[in-house]
């Protein structure tokens, strides 16, 4: 295979890995917006908490993988009361939730800075093997991380479309009043969905910790991209968000062949801003 071809393949694979992680974040955002009308500016910080916890837990336990279970549980448990007792009064009024979650974001970031310090950290990849595919060598951890990410997306799909809780979630999203009237505890659904979204972002953070810099402001970088994904995929559409995450991350990665990574990101953002104007309901929905 030509050198350009293998470079492209490598970058596309890398884009796919980030795409699956961004999808986890974006799906949570989309569910939270769909059910509660919250523009969650603190969602990137749940991702950051996942990554920071992965670093801390790896240090204490001497192993990486337990963090993948513990961190999402911790972050999810922390998010439950936030929805019920802090954000509930603002729900349905996107602007208030925007400002309120900026406040939350300040708090979370500063606490993280206090506990973990301000120096960016890197976590050793817990898997050392290399996957060779069509002449391209991919670090094994990245492939596994992408697979776990996609598996979690699949698990979320099963939860939302094939379980009773999923029925309640979708009912609350479609018609909160009717859901309430037929006996669904919509308050509980809201709390659980918010916790679930936070846990998914934290899981993405754990998976991202070995392949990026862990830093208390790292959530800000993924947040905007995740919002783009949510919008391009169509607000509230899970399949749309997944497809958009994979496609956009892949396109951005491949673009870096031609332009610098910064220019690639700027170009993507600009194109997405224009998409927002032309197709505010999303590119991938009818």
């Amino acid at each position: 295979m030509s050198e350009l071809g293998s470079t492209l393949l490598f970058l596309a694979a890398d884009g796919l890995i980030w795409g699956s992680l961004i999808a986890l974040i974006a799906l949570g955002l989309s569910l939270i917006y769909g059910i509660m009308g919250i523009i969650n500016m603190a969602h990137g910080d749940f991702f950051m908490m996942g990554a920071a916890l992965a670093v801390a837990l790896s240090g204490w336990l001497g192993a990486f993988w337990p963090a993948l279970l513990i961190a999402p549980l911790l972050v999810g448990a922390l998010a439950l009361p936030l929805e019920r007792w802090v954000l509930r009064p603002f729900e349905g009024r996107p602007l208030l939730t925007l400002v309120g979650t900026i406040g939350l974001s300040f708090v979370i970031q500063q606490v993280a800075l206090m506990v973990f310090g301000g120096t960016p950290r890197r976590l050793e990849a817990p898997l050392a093997f290399v996957v060779s595919f069509a002449g391209v060598a991919l670090p094994g951890y990245r492939v596994v991380a992408a697979a776990i990410g996609l598996a979690l997306v699949a698990a979320l799909w099963v939860l939302v479309y094939r379980t009773e809780l999923g029925v309640r979630i979708r009912a609350t999203m479609e018609h909160p009043e009717i859901a309430d009237a037929v006996g669904i505890d919509t308050s509980r659904v809201r709390v659980l969905t918010f916790g679930l979204g936070a846990a998914l972002a934290a899981a993405a953070g754990v998976l991202a910790a070995p392949i990026t810099q862990v830093f208390y402001l790292m959530g800000n970088d993924v947040l905007l991209f995740s919002y783009i994904v949510v919008i391009v995929g169509g607000l509230g559409s899970l399949e749309g968000a997944l497809a958009a995450a994979l496609i956009l991350s892949g396109v951005e990665a491949v673009l870096t062949v031609v332009v610098s990574p910064v220019e690639a990101r700027a170009l993507m953002l600009l194109v997405m801003a224009l998409v927002l104007l032309v197709r505010p309901r999303g590119l991938l929905v009818g």
Partner: protein, 315 residues
């Protein structure tokens, strides 16, 4: 309210602030100066969100354009003080016209994200275009002397710099007050209250919203230029996300529906930033809590509450 009735207390306040600049110790004067620069920014945002209902999260674009609009003509074209300030303000207006022409078409969450996207692009490009902007490191500038009638003043004299900022803040306040009392201002308030009804009445809502966007962008650029003048420096970080978040925070704290509201927000935040940060590095924690508390119990902001203008926000 007749315009003349409150002229005396206002002039007294202006005189008091001018005196404070002369009498206050350097630290306090510098703090007041920052507040005045922010006040211009904050009032512009009060106009944009509190009156014309456009929740832009991209005001850093105009702040950065204003700063570089002043610094670059001085460095590259050897422009004089007023010339450079003029370029900064015009550049802000033109950028706001271009951004606003598109941003005004989308509302609510979409407006937030559209403007945030553009600001993010501006930040990335400014960081990247090091030869032009100096990147994150920035460009230092020697501010040219400030000719005013027969005098040649210099902002290197702290009092002159202070009075310059005071004049800008006072002019912005009085100018905005005048506009808000005029029919244009009434239409903006009507847009906030019910945009669709206004459209049914035959008003061209798009044009009025764009006018608010450009006015706010222009004032924000003025604020950015003053900030660069005070620091004798501009950097790509002037386009950073925090400069888009700050006006939100000021407005929410003080209240967005009045002119003094955002200014009070600025005073509170700045005092917080300077004094609380002295004894607690992580003062933003307290600040985040304060935002949520005010949002919950004083949704019209502190000034809105004090003015007795509170009414339940509609969902």
């Amino acid at each position: 309210m007749r315009p003349g009735r409150r002229a005396v207390p206002r002039l007294a306040l202006l005189g008091l602030l001018a005196l404070a600049g002369a009498a206050a110790p350097a630290g306090l004067r510098s703090l007041l100066m920052v507040m005045m620069i922010y006040a211009v920014f904050a009032m512009a945002y009060g106009l944009l969100l509190g009156h014309a209902n456009q929740p832009s999260l991209g005001q850093s674009i105009f702040f950065g354009v204003g700063a570089y609009g002043f610094v670059l003509p001085v460095l590259r074209l050897d422009a004089g003080f007023w010339g450079a300030l003029g370029v900064a303000v015009v550049a802000g207006a033109v950028t706001a016209l271009a951004v606003g022409a598109l941003a005004v078409r989308v509302s609510e969450a979409y407006h937030v994200i559209f403007t945030a996207l553009l600001a993010s692009v501006a930040h990335l490009l400014a960081k990247n275009a090091t030869p032009l902007t100096g990147g994150t490191g920035g460009l230092p500038v020697e501010v040219p002397p400030l000719p005013l009638g027969p005098w040649r003043l210099s902002v290197y004299d702290p009092l002159t710099n202070y009075l310059l900022c005071l004049a800008a803040a006072a002019a912005a306040y009085l100018g905005l007050r005048r506009v808000l009392a005029a029919p244009l201002g009434r239409v903006w308030v009507a847009i906030r209250e019910n945009e669709h009804r206004l459209a049914f009445l035959g008003y061209r809502v798009y044009g009025y919203k764009l006018a608010a966007f450009v006015t706010a962008g222009t004032l924000t650029a003025l604020s950015g230029a003053l900030y660069a003048i005070r620091l004798r420096y501009a950097s790509a970080e002037f386009f950073g996300f925090e400069w888009s978040v700050l006006p939100f925070v000021w407005g929410v704290l003080g209240g967005l529906r009045t002119l003094p509201g955002p200014v009070l927000g600025v005073v509170l935040f700045t005092v917080f930033q300077y004094y609380v940060s002295a004894w607690w590095t992580h003062y933003l924690i307290l600040f985040g809590v304060l935002i949520v508390v005010i949002l919950r119990w004083l949704p019209a902001g502190i000034v809105g509450y004090l003015a007795g203008q509170w009414r339940p926000t509609r969902a």
